[in-house]
């Protein structure tokens, strides 16, 4: 079992991780909110194509870790790398472009835009990237069949069930073909069956596209869809390894 609590490093000459081994890496990330530390030297690496579950008790820092890995938050100290590029050293505009071009997101409750139809919601990342409306809608269309949403194209979020809305959110997260999907408790607001459907569709879609997934969840049944899990505890990351302790 490896415990990553390494010293914080902010040296610019720190070598970039080999992207063939790992696509995203956090090194000694420290992040506080005011006087409250959320991450205290968190280190984790995610291999290209893998689904990594990030587990941990409430308040352990797992969502903060996801936000740092995805460039939503900048660490106070420590480094975050994506595909050989250091995210934490980027400006806001560059990070925003990185998120738009390479990352997809799914949150606990879909956070769909209520004024838009389901197909407009799914098209949104493409429209924000500058695609023409007709082309964006065209690329959104196959996702309705793929995620069992046929016939719901013109519905607004208020007219969708929780499970349907979450599948629309999943399609929105994947429609632009992101390298990485960041999912924060994607089934947290769903019952067991609806959650299972979302996870089955999520894993099938990302395997199909070769998308890397960072999946934050406190539910073991959801984590069981991942290839591997780590636990965030008191702001540091523990990598779980099956087998005898100390072996």
């Amino acid at each position: 079992m490896t415990e990553h609590t390494g010293a914080v490093s902010t040296a610019d000459r720190s070598p970039a991780p080999d992207p063939t081994d790992c696509l995203i890496e956090a090194r000694g990330v420290v992040r506080s909110f005011g006087q409250t530390p959320a991450l205290r030297g968190a280190s984790v690496s995610v291999t290209a194509g893998e689904i990594l579950a990030v587990m941990g008790p409430s308040g352990s820092g797992k969502s903060t870790l996801l936000h740092c890995l995805s460039g939503i938050l900048v660490p106070d100290t420590g480094e975050v790398w994506f595909d050989g590029r250091r995210i934490d050293a980027m400006g806001e505009a560059e990070r925003s472009a990185l998120r738009r071009d390479h990352f997809g997101f799914v949150f606990q409750s879909g956070q769909l835009v209520p004024e838009l139809t389901a197909e407009e919601n799914i098209s949104l990342p493409l429209l924000l990237s500058g695609a023409r409306r007709a082309a964006a809608l065209e690329r959104a269309r196959p996702w309705f069949e793929r995620l069992g949403l046929d016939g719901l194209e013109q519905r607004r979020s208020g007219e969708l069930s929780g499970g349907q809305a979450q599948r629309v959110a999943l399609a929105r997260g994947l429609v632009a073909g992101p390298r990485v999907l960041f999912a924060d408790e994607p089934t947290g607001s769903l019952d067991s069956l609806a959650g299972e459907m979302v996870m089955n569709l999520l894993t099938a879609a990302v395997r199909d596209q070769g998308t890397t997934v960072v999946l934050v969840t406190h539910e073991p049944r959801v984590a069981a869809y991942a290839d591997r899990e780590v636990i965030v505890r008191d702001g540091t990351v523990n990598t779980l390894a099956a087998g005898r302790v100390g072996s």
Partner: protein
Amino acid sequence: MSVPLTLLGLLEREPSHGYELKRDYDAYFGRGKPLPFGQVYATLGRLARDGKVVAGEAEPGAGPDRKRYVITDAGAAEFETWLADPVAPEPHLQTVLFAKVVLALMLGRRAGKYLDAQRAAHLQRMRELTELKRNGALVDALLADHGLFHLEADLRWIDMTAARLDALAQAVSQPVPEVTGGSR
């Protein structure tokens, strides 16, 4: 729960008389089912025969139980192997996990790492069952669900226990009251 391994764990803590082992076993692991003295001495006899413990010379004093038992290297190795090996992830493991956690805390070990190893073993089994659900027939899926829900219950217990390790360590470090009544 394995009585021999639990007694070995208690002896790993410190050499003890049979009645001390019974007292501590009943306090931490008996859960309303005290260990009969006969079973304590029969178990110690078998452990001594197998070279896992040695009995000291009988000490002068009243009462039949005046031998202090000491764990051997072979006994300590067997206990260590048991403690470090995650239990096969099947439902209803709490008693075994509980014994491991309490003994680890008594011995000043980092009980959290044993819980982490068990958590990893459980999640690995849950991954296998999830894969079975995704690729198998509905009947297989229902059976897998049964296993998944039970394993999830174990994991919740593991999480709760992990969150309470400091308090539990304090609780097991308190001296256990002397056994009253009964024969030795």
